[in-house]
Symmetry: D2
Subunit: 285 residues, 4 copies
């Protein structure tokens, strides 16, 4: 196994000395930087940085690292976070009836593509229970109606708390989450939308694409915000179609890119490679 | 040189015997079919067909072919057209100030990529006159204001008539054509829009893309209709961008796909490979 | 359910009247052509054609169609085949230890992407038995050594006969099939090679790609011939990599395109959309 | 105009403190880091870094920067180089008869895509002289035979010296350069090869691709080394083809990606974004 590492993700107003101060902090305490990437966004002059270092031989004990770093962070007015590679995130998957994204996530998890554990599946339909259990995941069924929605979301959030979930994946989950829910898990809910956003937001995007006669269809993974299909985009991909493709052909082609785009977003998030700034993402690939 | 060929493009309600009748017509008159492609669209049950045959040895003299085919066309209620490969279409390019698409078309023309002649450039700015003339094209300058627009379009259409123009290419032409103009050249005006339509229709699509934080940008070539950026799409392409790309980087990347997508549409149109049906295209590649 | 259809795939020396004769044959017997595509290859002047028609109302009973068509086929010296859409092909999957392509095929089968049944899995390792059985497929384990190879292949072929298998998919099967085996199933064995052939044929293609420092990796599905990794190519796809990608990252990225490319080849084959001519394929998409 | 910047490119054995030392050096002298990217390659444990800082307000006068940095470089055994963004590289283009890449470079230069000046064109054919001069570039014609090759290369190198050329672009130049020439301009000659290397190295790659029946063709830009088509790859791209594409169609499609891939490599080189290590490139995009 690889040594545990620390990952620092930060943004702050740009000024002289930030990189030097951070790398100096790591070096003074005997850390070896493994990856560093920095980006300054114009306009606004905001610096974004991801820096990862080896914890082997690092002079500050792990539980003191955040405290030791705080003065530096305050001096540069950073928004920041430090995570350790051996603290494995806990992930819940929300599904409805579509199996392809769900199945794909399970397979990738099985093959070790994600730094995460997947204890929990939540659904508004019972259909995928056997599949979830076959892969050893707990399945919770919360049917949603207009009347019981608030109450059911309450129960879902309790379950998420109980399971100490860090990340929620909406793997073609066909319910809109309430603002309260979204805000509780801000920048921690990843959705897959089966269009090339902002084109064809809302319902039935493949049908919309078919009717408009586009020559390429897409898929978009994004963080969920209160406004539907409008959150910060993490990854997108596209595939060519032609007049020969029926709606059904388009759906089959689309499933391939949905799976790839959702998995990419999940992988990046779990590797602490995404910073959200305003309505956009900075992705350190 | 290759033998001249005839290309029949048609659409009609599907029924038994259409392919047999058309291919029978060609065979009875000693024609050899070089390419045939057929597509039936659901819903609507409309048949689309492109069929190309060698004119060498064809028993009907060229000037009688359309007349001879007419009874068949009427029997199946076809919308149809027959063109001959040695009747070279005449193309006018409309430009403003952007040079990349214009230049690219000229270079491709020089390299023999298009079945067409390019006698005429029309612009609302004088900037590209030297380049046009360097390549031997006549350049007509019609500055457009809100006041003189109708009158200037009138003069443009006269020039297009005089030059017997078959196809108009808007190579980043920054004026909206009037409905009267558009309808005169229905399905014979090709525009390049620098976004992945229907996303980012209207002005400044790269700016819109930058602000939305998309991870892929696109370009779309389409026939011009009265509704802006809403005509039948002929070709689209995309390219990846990231948070590192400034607006200027996006523009540079976008230019590459604009050029490719516009050239593709022009090539397909000039090879009689496009049928327009409703708001969509059938492209026989 | 859709009506059953007949698909005629053929190649023959090009001459006048082929399309007319075939479409005439269908029309005379009251058939409605649903799809027709034709291609003439230069040099060689060989015509390739795929034509599909509705069997509902077709005047020749199904068991007499081939016989009725034979005189026409002989007149034009065709290589040809007629298949019926409701005669479902039987598919065997060969696997070793890699799970991703195997799993992907099963999932797509479950979602109805393939016109085929999948009764049988054959492997030289026992590892994937539980997964195969979980999806309801029979699993046959034939460990292969240098000594027992001929004998084990004999047993495999018996099993394939017994199960009346029409198509074999090598889903990352890590054994080279003998010429005798390959020839028995000529153009009916589809392999996935994890490189952009002809680059990186042979073993460890990702390692080779990594060492050469390419910026794009690929995957290739092809029919298996006696010469290793040299059969007619059906489909290819690629994905970008960079210096940041380790061998392991490359493998993860590659798996995504392996799955898509293999599935595409299988889908095309099962829909009778592929003609093999010499060392190439004609793919009627 | 933007402020001038300094770009440091380096590689060295990885150890603790490198990033801290370099960023500390810049910060101590009042420099503001604009971009920093670092990569550590496994196996070998080599660190690669590109760091760019604003020269406005930098405390060391420009002519002293390299001297001031040298002790640090020696301490970490770096291979390194510092360049200033306002010292514009001088570029020579080598051409034969193909116009597309040459024309494309000129157009991009005109549109300001490259940080470079293009004073000189060298060719073994006179054909492109008018085009070169139309764009204001000096054109030198050195016809090459087996007998005069060494002598002509000598004259070319003299001309390159006289013009103080920093980078040579082989824009489909159809002569193999001698080892002496190549070594004089090591990692400063960029070639475009019209295949997806290492597939189809050598002559007539499109013909080779056509005969093999691949479904995707490619283009590769690379630094020239003594071994033909074997230098470090900078950029690659691909485009789909099908059985319908003749050799001529393939060439037309290929030209589009040749242009894009060559331009990308030139842009990256001129922006000091490429490090060569062994037979590979590290590209800081």
């Amino acid at each position: 196994m690889e040594n545990p590492t620390a990952v620092l993700l930060l943004s702050c107003p740009d000024q002289k000395g930030i990189v030097a101060s951070i790398s100096g902090f790591i070096f003074q305490h005997e850390g070896n930087i493994l990856h560093a990437a920095q980006h300054t966004a114009q306009p606004g002059n905001i610096l974004f940085m991801r820096i990862e270092w080896d914890l082997a031989g690092f002079a500050i004990p792990r539980e003191g690292i955040k405290e030791a770093f705080r003065p530096l962070a305050e001096r540069f007015r950073m928004k920041w976070n430090i995570r350790f590679s051996d603290e494995i995130p806990r992930v819940a998957i929300f599904v409805s009836r579509h199996v392809h994204c769900f199945h794909d996530l399970l397979l990738r998890h099985l093959m070790g593509e994600f730094r995460g554990v997947f204890p929990l599946v939540i659904s508004n339909h019972p259909d995928l229970q056997p599949l979830a259990e076959q892969f050893g995941l707990a399945f919770r069924y919360y049917p949603i109606t207009q009347e019981n929605k608030a109450e059911q979301e309450e129960r879902e959030m309790e379950e998420l708390e109980r399971q100490r979930i860090d990340l929620i994946i909406l793997a073609r989950y066909m319910q809109v989450l309430s603002p309260a829910f979204v805000n509780r898990y801000k920048n921690r809910i990843i959705n897959i939308h089966h269009s090339f956003l902002p084109a064809f937001a809302g319902g039935k995007p493949y049908q919309q694409a078919y009717e408009r006669g586009v020559k390429i269809i897409g898929a978009t993974s994004h963080y969920v915000t209160e406004a539907l299909d409008d959150g910060p985009i993490i990854a997108q991909d596209v595939i060519e179609i032609s007049h020969r493709d029926s709606i059904n052909d388009i759906k089959i082609k689309g499933k391939d890119i949905e799976r790839v785009v959702l998995a990419k977003a999940v992988r990046l998030h779990l590797a602490d490679r995404i910073l959200v700034y305003g309505s956009k993402t900075i992705v350190f690939e």
